[in-house]
């Protein structure tokens, strides 16, 4: 069996296992292709620099999908993501090592759901995306 959290095991203050992501140029390209997104800052380094970016920019919604994965990997396949929100505070660039961390901040027994506070930081500790999510846990 697995160790996915349930309403009877989850506690406020529980920490989600940290997740690391690091997007290569090929991954940025694949995301642009899969999302039909021709924005040049994601594949044309000279143009990204011209717009004032240090390097190729990691797509915001790609990081959004990493956030949802961070939650659903922890909560398990029978859980249901109810909501998620994030703010873009600073850019992530190609090759940056990105670290996702999260904590259970509230438990709603009636709704069988928990609230999570999540952060995506780069290796310097700069907060790139603060996020919040609500997820309905499976089982008793």
């Amino acid at each position: 069996m697995n160790n996915y959290p349930t309403m009877s095991t989850v506690q406020i203050g529980d920490e989600l296992p940290k997740m690391k992501k690091q997007a290569s140029e090929a991954e940025l390209f694949l995301y642009s292709a899969a999302s039909f997104n021709p924005h040049r800052i994601h594949y044309d380094r000279a143009y990204a620099n011209f717009e004032g970016h240090d390097d190729l920019v990691v797509h915001g919604p790609l990081q959004g999908s990493w956030l949802t994965q961070f939650v659903t990997d922890w909560a398990g396949p029978r859980a249901r993501l109810l909501s998620i929100e994030w703010q873009n505070r600073a850019s992530a660039f190609v090759g940056d090592e990105l670290i996702f961390a999260g904590t259970v901040t509230a438990i709603d027994q009636a709704n069988t759901s928990v609230e999570l506070e999540i952060s995506e930081k780069n290796i310097d500790g700069t907060l790139l995306m603060p996020a919040k999510a609500n997820v309905r846990l499976a089982g008793a």
């Binding site: 143009y47 109810l82 909501s83």
Partner: protein, 163 residues
């Protein structure tokens, strides 16, 4: 207070439909391409038995795939210098730079491969705020996604910051 960054004609557009309604079928190949591209190999996107065991009717899709499933193909002639598409969904503002501020999503019903999803995007909010670096405009595009049964499956709010 008269708004300096938002022309009055743009303010009048609050509530207006900016794009859609567009209806698309959720395709297995597109959804799995998206899952591979984001590196999310959850079995509920790839293994029907796993998806059914998890309570879905059939394979489900990564939550944020919805936005991309609804993207309308457009001719290359419509591309601007920055690679984004020119479209009439642009709101005229007296600003030089538009940034993505973040997103907010609510999920109401599962979305599975084969579902027919209709998305409609409205200008939900447009207002001018004072920040540490001066005035900026906060622009909210809200998309409502419904399925073939008429259920609202999700809502997304994309927040743009312009200054």
């Amino acid at each position: 207070m008269p708004s300096s960054l938002i022309p009055p004609d743009s303010l009048k557009r609050i509530g207006e439909v900016l794009s859609g309604p567009f209806t698309v079928r959720i395709e297995l190949r597109e959804a799995q391409r998206y899952a591979y591209a984001v590196g999310d190999l959850n079995p509920i996107y790839f293994d029907e038995t796993a998806a059914v065991a998890a309570g879905y009717a059939t394979l489900t899709v990564p939550p944020l795939f919805l936005t991309h499933a609804l993207v309308q193909p457009k001719p290359i002639e419509n591309l601007r210098t920055d690679g984004l598409y020119n479209d009439n969904a642009s709101i005229e503002l007296r600003v030089s730079r538009m940034m993505f501020g973040g997103e907010e999503w609510d999920f109401h019903e599962p979305v599975c491969v084969g579902d027919e999803i209709t998305g409609t995007t409205r200008l939900a909010d447009l207002d001018e705020k004072e920040g540490q670096k001066g005035s900026f405009v906060r622009l909210v595009r809200e998309t409502t996604f419904t399925n073939q049964r008429g259920d609202i499956v999700a809502k997304s709010r994309q927040i743009g910051i312009a200054r």
